[in-house]
């Protein structure tokens, strides 16, 4: 298979979405199996493309013969494929969790939604066209909202309705921004927009910047725009939590990068600068720092475990956005490490906390009591996940946080002050994670039965844990991945060149 069949990554899940609807009539297990198979294929194929890209550089897959900048094309960069593989891995583990559930009348629909989710995520990360990105963005939001509302209780419905409102307004903003770009530059190709963005007046640039901010910040769970998170996370089903907390966040971060850096920013002196009439980096850094603080404080006083994890997810996203706002090679490396840490460990946390709290009436901190005795495997998973999350030395989170501090301090200016604030706030994070872990160690007087082991959960959790440990303990491997991806992020020029002269490179 050549890289030109990259469209398969989008097409296969879409096709399967239809197929599973039909086949689901005969047997409800079939869609589930198809789901796992498709995701395995997608994961394999994306890693194959990743190796291809790492040797050949950025590749462009032209669709239906329209050369860029015309038509729709898929751009395969190291960065996007890396994140895509990560997303596939997460969806795979989430769907393993999903498969383990008993089948009911909803199974087929949910499988379809998961296919849709996969297709939308692939499209978002691969497309080289901004309007196409908008389309996938909407499909992605629709898939998310439907997944959240699956549980049909008050909280999930309220959460999904909030999400719907915010993302609809956001998409209107995005549409305005895209329209602005098209009206002024006359193109929709990301590479070409990126090439010619400086032609716009700084004021127009600032307008587009604000439109994009409004569009994306609710997806990246950043504070003033993220009021959907607690209800959504709390109300949603477990595998949806994994998808929301890990896969959606990664996708949102990718969009954030493309919109703000590939399109608006310009790498000057090894650092992205924004040629618009306001200090964009300051705004992003400020918003993300505020987001970190607010979510940490919110998490600190929460009792419900899912809510705590939701807030923590928001604060981690804030930290990654802060790393983005520093916008040099070091900070991108830090951001990538943090992204890996966030997605893998958050998935593990959701998964294992669900198992630990199984059978408890109130799903709050108290239901963690005595977890280690009841459910040693998942408690151990939870402990590993949260240690990585809070940055226990020599885990991914530790590397991420430390290198974030290093890059922020060397960037000096307001970043070094903000990073201090962020560090102080993340002490709160440590506190509530340790509070949860402490509950696991509490031994109960009445020895409760050991919870029945769910092997699907265990398999999916240990898969994620294995990836995390490999990343943390294989320095060469991780170093190569992170530095090539960060290098790819810094290298806007190559991206533009490769896309716009795609035919020369065939």
């Amino acid at each position: 298979m050549s890289y030109n069949s990259a469209i398969l990554l989008i097409a296969a899940p879409l096709l399967m979405a239809f197929l599973s609807f039909i086949l689901g009539i005969f047997n409800k297990r079939i869609p589930a199996i198809l789901l796992v198979l498709t995701l395995s294929f997608n994961f394999y194929f994306s890693t194959y493309l990743l190796t291809l890209v790492s040797s050949k550089g950025v590749l462009v897959s032209v669709i239906s013969g329209f050369e860029p900048p015309f038509g729709i094309n898929l751009v395969l960069t190291y960065f996007s494929l890396l994140l895509l593989s990560l997303i596939y891995l997460i969806i795979l583990s989430a769907s393993v969790v999903f498969v383990s559930k008993k089948t009911d009348e909803n199974t087929v629909k949910v499988a379809t939604l998961l296919f849709l989710f996969t297709a939308a995520a692939s499209g978002l990360l691969l497309t080289g066209d901004i309007f196409n990105m908008f389309v996938f963005f909407e499909i992605f939001a629709v898939a998310n909202i439907s997944l959240i509302s699956l549980k049909k209780n008050k909280t999930s419905l309220k959460g999904s309705f909030k999400y719907l409102l915010l993302s609809s307004i956001g998409s209107a903003f995005l549409l305005f921004g895209i329209g602005m770009i098209y009206g002024t530059l006359g193109t929709l190709n990301i590479a070409e927009i990126g090439l010619r963005f400086y032609e716009l007046s700084p004021l127009t640039g600032a307008f587009i910047f604000i439109m994009f901010l409004g569009a994306i910040l609710s997806e990246t769970e950043t504070f003033p725009f993220n009021f959907w998170i607690t209800d959504s996370y709390k109300g949603a089903r477990n595998f949806v939590n994994i998808l929301l907390g890990s896969a959606s966040s990664v996708a949102a971060l990718y969009i954030f990068f493309r919109l703000f850096f590939t399109i608006i920013g310009y790498p000057i002196n090894n650092r992205y600068e924004f040629l618009i009439s306001m200090d964009a980096r300051l705004i992003i850094a400020l918003i993300s720092a505020i987001s970190v603080i607010v979510s940490e404080i919110g998490a600190l006083s929460s009792k419900s475990v899912k809510r705590i994890l939701a807030f923590s997810s928001a604060s981690q996203m804030g930290m990654i956005l802060f790393a983005f706002s520093i916008s040099d090679f070091n900070s991108f490396s830090a951001a990538l490490t943090l992204i890996f840490n966030l997605s893998l460990s958050k998935a593990i946390l959701f998964l294992s906390s669900h198992e630990i709290m199984k059978g408890a009436k109130e799903k709050n901190i108290e239901s963690f009591t005595g977890g280690l005795g009841r459910n040693p495997v998942f408690s151990a998973l939870f402990i590993f996940g949260s240690l990585s999350m809070v940055g226990f030395p020599l885990t991914l989170g530790f590397y991420g946080k430390i290198s974030l501090v290093a890059s922020a301090v060397s960037a000096s200016g307001y970043f070094s002050i903000l990073v201090f604030v962020i560090l102080l706030a993340s002490a709160a994070e440590l506190f509530y994670y340790f509070r949860l872990m402490h509950k696991l160690f509490v031994s109960e007087q009445n020895h409760t039965e050991k919870t029945k082991m769910n092997w699907f959960y265990a398999a999916s959790g240990s898969l994620l844990l294995a990836v995390m440990i490999i990343l943390a303990l294989m320095p060469k491997f991780t170093e190569r991945i992170v530095s090539s991806a960060a290098g790819d992020m810094m290298d806007k020029t190559t991206y533009i060149e490769r896309v716009l002269k795609a035919e020369d490179l065939k």
């Binding site: 919110g298 929460s302 102080l424 506190f431 160690f441 170093e479």
Partner: protein, 630 residues
């Protein structure tokens, strides 16, 4: 070699998790064996100054993570003594933890902690130091609070303060790193010195970050509240580790990083303000140490919980050591290091004897105890020698280091510091005697009539510690000669000392003579005692009661034990003055955060409309900002 031994210890810890609960003692014997081999390994490294090991980890962005270990006189002395002491504590724990419920996690994490402990002392650069510092903080959480609700509340102060301090230190490290592009300690000190000359405020900020990191860990003002909480609620045998060993990391860091820096400044700086021939900054830190010791002393006098009292005493002693270190003279630094080692020994002894008391009686409130000396003589003797050393009474090890501290304070002309140290030292005698009386002397409550001495295996570490206190008291040179090589490696003037005699500018002390004088006087008194008419033994309750029969008004032994509110009139002396309660301050801070948190939480779960409101508002704000900038 160092790294492999660490991995070996970690592996043992991991494997020991699979030992069944009935065979707890096997696990602890295993740990003791590992600690013994680690102690031996460190012992063999004596003299291999400069031996280093490096292990490369990930490099993210511009930061190369790697573990670097190096053996220096300073690191050797600290790691050897701490590991040896943890070995003796682990001997104690073999029996103590046989029937402990949450013992599995305690042991597992404790062994990891011991590895972190050695690694902190052996680390050759700031990043390695930070890595193990952080690991130590995280892991110690689970040992202080192994699933106990009460100790969880206590550990919070420790944990949050330590984490904030560690983060401050992290910021300091990376500020320096962004200037010097290396984590090496010496070059960073040099870099910071240069920064002092060029950009003084920034340099002071960086130093302050390090100071925060070290002081939170060593519980100096205003972070002095955590030991009383954490040390008293931790598992009893672990309290001795916490108080004897772990609280010293901050002072170790100060000796490693701050002292050379300040010495540099006092020698070469043209721009920094000086007072008493030392940099003003350092002088202030010395004052912080002295104030800490006084405050801790007064708080110790007030406490009725024996472990809490011992914890406050720890804070007080840390205060002396800090004062002594920060006056920067050779004598002061040597005295500080000496006192740290001595304190590790006698405080371990004190906490172990308290753990033994609690092991037999399950009581911690001092007024419920009493008279245990008649039942547990070895424990009593350990405690007695411990408090003699702690109060700095000759001829045990405590007085030797205190003598050095006074000499350095007096020869450096710090009269008021010396007075404060003296005040807290006398106060130390006061509250330590109270503990001695309330726990071991006076009337024995009838419920403890069947109490026995602890098992022999638990006595072994007590014997070892008593022996150590006496030997170091008689031959202070056993510690002071290695301390001298530390001074040499830090390019400081060596102090004049032999195995038996300590010299200062003001006077000299021959420790064996001090011991012999004491022994001689005692012999003299004993002869007099023999000359007198032989005494008659009388039951303890057969006592002077102003002529009344105790049985008549229902006097019990518990009632005849004067222990509660021992120094109450003294406490009331300060009633008139407004009191600042640090703990209350931290608690109110926590309440504020929780209130804010509830507010945020409420907002998050309110109706969808408010979400849209805030969304719109924020966009408008950003637009307004853009407008203003434009």
């Amino acid at each position: 070699m160092i790294l492999y031994s660490f991995l070996f210890a970690l592996l043992t810890a991991l494997l020991s998790l699979f030992i069944r609960r009935e065979y707890n003692y096997i696990r602890w014997i295993l740990y003791s064996a590992v600690l013994a081999s680690l102690t031996f390994l460190i012992y063999t490294m004596n003299g291999l100054w400069g031996y280093s090991e490096s292990f490369k980890l990930l490099s993210v962005g511009s930061v190369d993570f790697s573990l670097n270990f190096k053996v220096t006189p300073l690191s050797w002395l600290f790691s050897f003594f701490t590991t040896g002491l943890s070995l003796s504590i682990s001997l104690f724990s073999i029996v103590k933890n046989r029937h402990e419920e949450s013992e599995r996690s305690i042991g597992f994490f404790w062994l990891i902690l011991s590895v972190c402990n050695i690694a902190i002392f052996l680390s050759a650069d700031l990043l390695t130091l930070f890595i193990f510092w952080e690991a130590m903080t995280f892991v110690s959480f689970f040992v202080i609070s192994p699933g106990w609700t009460k100790s969880f509340k206590a550990v919070n102060y420790y944990f949050i303060l330590s984490i904030l301090g560690a983060f401050a230190m992290l910021v300091g490290i990376f500020f320096l790193y962004s200037k010097s592009a290396t984590f090496n300690i010496e070059s960073n000190i040099a870099q910071l010195f240069v920064l002092y000359e060029l950009n003084s405020p920034q340099a002071i900020f960086i130093t302050l970050m390090f100071v925060l990191g070290f002081f939170t860990k060593s519980a100096l003002m205003p972070f002095h509240i955590w030991p009383a909480e954490a040390h008293s609620e931790a598992p009893d045998d672990f309290s001795s580790y916490l108080s004897g060993i772990m609280i010293k990391y901050g002072l170790y860091g100060s000796i490693l990083f701050l002292v050379p820096l300040f010495v540099f400044i006092s020698k070469f700086s043209q721009t920094q303000p000086m007072s008493n021939h030392i940099p003003l900054f350092s002088h202030i830190l010395a004052w912080v140490g002295a104030i800490t010791s006084v405050v801790a002393t007064f708080l110790a006098v007030k406490s009725n919980d024996m472990k809490r009292l011992a914890a406050w005493s720890t804070v007080g002693n840390i205060g002396y050591a800090a004062t002594s270190i920060f006056i920067l003279s050779s004598m002061g630094v040597a005295g500080g290091i000496f006192h740290i080692i001595n304190h590790a020994i006698f405080k371990t002894a004190i906490f172990l004897s308290l753990a033994a008391v609690k092991y037999r009686t399950h009581e911690r409130e001092m007024h419920r105890l009493g008279g245990l000396a008649y039942k547990m003589p070895v424990t009593f003797l350990t405690f007695l020698l411990g408090i003699i050393a702690a109060a700095g009474i000759p001829p045990l090890n405590g007085y030797a280091s205190k003598w050095m501290i006074y000499q350095s304070l007096l020869s450096g002309r710090f009269p008021f510091l010396a007075t404060m140290i003296f005040l807290s030292s006398t106060g130390a005698f006061m509250y330590l005697f109270r503990a001695l009386h309330s726990v071991f002397l006076g009337q024995l409550p009838s419920k403890f009539d069947d109490v026995k001495e602890v098992p022999f295996l638990m006595q072994i570490p007590m014997y070892i510690l008593m022996l150590l206190m006496v030997i170091i008291g008689i031959f202070p040179g056993t510690v002071l000669l290695p301390v001298n090589s530390i001074l040499k490696s830090m390019n400081m003037e060596e102090i004049k000392v032999t195995y038996t005699t300590m010299y200062s500018m003001l006077s000299s002390v021959d420790a064996p003579i001090v011991f012999l004088v004491f022994a001689g006087s005692f012999a003299f008194a004993f002869i007099l005692y023999l000359i007198g008419k032989p005494r008659r033994h009388v039951e303890l309750l057969d006592n002077y009661t102003a002529g009344q029969d105790p049985k008549e008004f229902g006097l019990t032994r518990e009632m005849y034990h004067f222990a509660l509110k021992f120094y109450e009139p003294f406490e009331h002396m300060f009633d008139k003055y407004p009191r600042t309660n640090t703990k209350e301050f931290y608690d109110s801070f926590e309440r504020k955060i929780n209130e804010t948190g509830s507010f945020i939480k409420k907002f998050y779960s309110s109706s969808p409309r408010s979400a849209v409101y805030i969304f719109t508002l924020s966009i408008v704000l950003i637009i307004i900002y853009g407008w203003l900038v434009w």
